[in-house]
Assembly symmetry: C2
Amino acid sequence: MENVLIFGHKNPDTDTIMSAIAMTNLENKKGKNAKACRLGNINKETKYALEHFNQEEPELIEGVEDGQQVVLVDHNEFGQSVDGIENAKIIRVVDHHKIGDFKTSEPIYYTAMPVGCTATIIYGMFEQEKIEIEPKIAGLMLSAIISDTLLFKSPTCTDLDIEVGHKLAEIANVDINAYGLEMLKAGTDLSDFSPAELINIDSKPYTTNGIKYQVAQVNTASIEDVLKGKTEIENAMEDFIKENNEDLFVLLITDILENNSQIIVVGNRKDIAEKAFEVNLEDNMAFLPGVVSRKKQVVPVIDKNI
Amino acid sequence: MENVLIFGHKNPDTDTIMSAIAMTNLENKKGKNAKACRLGNINKETKYALEHFNQEEPELIEGVEDGQQVVLVDHNEFGQSVDGIENAKIIRVVDHHKIGDFKTSEPIYYTAMPVGCTATIIYGMFEQEKIEIEPKIAGLMLSAIISDTLLFKSPTCTDLDIEVGHKLAEIANVDINAYGLEMLKAGTDLSDFSPAELINIDSKPYTTNGIKYQVAQVNTASIEDVLKGKTEIENAMEDFIKENNEDLFVLLITDILENNSQIIVVGNRKDIAEKAFEVNLEDNMAFLPGVVSRKKQVVPVIDKNI
């Protein structure tokens, strides 16, 4: 039996890690020899959830060999995937993001749904295969949904995410609100991150019509606190886009209690962000009321203005 | 409620037509306002199946307006889709082909599986939604599976296609072999096609690394009979690639009783076909024993040799 590697995107968040673990659990129960992997460091929120459910971290991988069988969860764009993905054998994708110039040489399994969280889709796959979800795996999947939907409050959250979240909470025997707030709060402790680390906690590259841009997001209970390091953060963003030849970097500092975001914007094409969000940047900043979702409220409007 | 148009690829075959009808039936039962369409003439095999189950043809459309909501079945490559697809709003794809530079600006539903027939995937969607399939719809879906798998004999046929085929036959109360052979034979009557029509019955364009090529297929019970018109067919193929600026045209003449194919190849890049099939063309022809599947045995090997 060949070994299948299952992983989410670089700069892993809770959905990417938990979906890799849940999908691996499902494939193994179906008789496949699969292993969950990760493409970067575990953030504090994810670490809290893994420890809560007594689950070890997936193995860190730096790249994959030619012909390696892989399953991609929570992403499909090669720029966000493992080094060597171009020559790997992708056998399955499970994702909830837009599809970005995706291409295969043979038919594969591809399951995408416009829902708040990849784990919600994986729940449906367990159901379809009539395989029961263990309480521990249910807890990890619930953590992914809480994370991606900010406790069902993000505009990306769908009725299906809420329904599946409650079913998983029952299996895992977890009080969603109490556990969810603790988990989200664990993720907002940014105290021991350097500015360069902070802008890399949850950061993704995009390319649209030749424009290369980066959108990073940090969650916090106090935007003000994060802005104390604004100059250093800006410098780190400037360094990042210089190194990566990018045109634009948007950092979302998201208040998960109030559901608003402050953005910091740097790069040659700040005009794109100003047009996209219909704001005038002051000191490279703007406040975006009600904006919490990179996927639904940030990337599409940037793309439309490129 | 907005109207959703559901259609398969240009030069429709039985799977494309039946999957559009079945998917429309499913969406309508889920409460959507959907309409099945087609992008070209119905072939004789499909006509036989539609008449057998007393189903009218989907409506012919030439293009779609900007922002029109669409569901693509049995294809994903824009070159095979409706005119105007670039500016339509694709909300769902159900397909069993390789994925070719597919791109969306927002998350959508995308369900692909490496199975023999799109209708097999749609069966699973009815199951997941717990919606019963009517006997007539089951008969149409079974026709699609028989067509795409050549009565379960094509190398693209999977265990799932066979399993679903038998379940559908039971619902539709049809003898698979007797009905299947009649349907396939109805499709091999090429007598009233001009050469230009013949090469267009089931013909698809592909672009790989800048090379544009066409692969068409006709099913027959006698390769010899078809080859009586070889010179005229070659001329029609030459005219076609000149008009469409293509580099290569491969016509598969497939013996559905013996499961072999004769190919006729024209264009500037016949060398690609020779390398791909490891043959020396004689009079632009070669015999390919056991080759019956464009998707599995023709397009991937051409792509590998471009």
